[in-house]
Amino acid sequence: MRDRIMYVLATLSAALLTWNLYKIFMILPDEKNQGAIYRIVYMHVPSIFTGFTGFFVALAASALYLITKDLKYDAFAAAVTEVSLAFASIVLATGMIWGRIIWGIWWAWDARLTTMLVCWLIYFGYVMLRRAIDEPTQRARLSAVVSVFGCVDIMIVYKSIEWWRTQHPAPVLSVRDGGGMGPGMESPIYWNWLAFMCLASILVMVRMRQESISREIDSLRRMAHAY
């Protein structure tokens, strides 16, 4: 059943991505201020959406683990966080490339990019922490707490950086007021988000399966040592 869902999602996201790529490169015209490079928005923004969705889902999964103590939520939280971290990396990479072309510098301390970087660092800490703990139940408990603390932090960071920016104005990457996006230029962003979400779901499922298998192996190893 799970396999079938994965195949359906894979087909869906492959079809969507192909169609979107065709539309983005072959149909849509260049943007009037930025030229061809603006197309990176179709990777950048859907990745932001996917990444942040993931971090909030991870918060919910971590809270559920702490309430139910069911390790399946822990596997879910871990899988979602890791996949979101991958999308956050895409955001950082595409943001930097875009900044290099438009502003001439790789990193302009743009508010959203900075928030994403802090986010990335926090969840990188989460992944590091998981690797440092061998016992699965302890790992689940401690990393769930870190996930809750981290997510709260991101909300504070998000607001603070917005304020910081209002004091120190800097160029802002924005689809809407960056100017000149014609009709029909915005919708591929959302279609790509859908495709990315399908892709993310597949990755999460694969990762969750790994997580449960590695827990099984850990338990067998403990059994071999104990008995």
């Binding site: 702490l66 590091m128 603390f149 504070i156 960071v157 304020w163």
Partner: protein, 227 residues
Amino acid sequence: MSPFLRATLTIAAKDLRSEFRTKEAFNASLSFSVVILVLFSFAFDPTSEQMQAISGGLLWLVFSFASALSLNRSFARELQNDCLDALVSAPIPVAAIFLGKALANYFLLILVEITALAVFALFYDTHFAAQLWPILLVIALGTWGMTVIGTTFSALTVNLRMREVMLPTLVYPMLVPALMAAMTLTTDLMNGIPLGGDNLLWLRVLTGFDFIYTLLAMVFIDIVVVG
């Protein structure tokens, strides 16, 4: 005096007493911060205007680096003879153990910071006398934020291998909003700009950060330490 408060103060007094008998964490933090202050003079022209503009940031870098040394010791101190087990099995809430340790850390850090502040003034000819009380307020608030996060993660990482590496990896990204606020406020105050206007916003961020994480820590500390 309520039993909670009595337990908290007993723990705090115990930590301070054993710390002042060896002065391990205190001496390490203090000498480390002085060394960093000296090193800064090579990184920047210590007599320039630029120095004034970044003074707040430098000061908080010193504080946050120095804090890692003593926060690391906080719960590790209890590992030595399995003392943590004795504390947890005593009829006191885990939150009281946490708060006692946090208060002891806070006191130590403030002591180190006041000394570092004096050294800073001596070396770099900074003028904070005009805004002394607001600066002390910001230091008091910012240090409490560092203490709460640091003590919580000290408890969280106490049983891990690679504890010394894990603690800073987790703590510094979490501290971003608090440090951002404290740095902005301190720089302005050092340049003689009184609290008010936009800066009140940063005071709110700092206070909010302290409040939210004190609350979260008190709620989650039982899960972290006992399960």
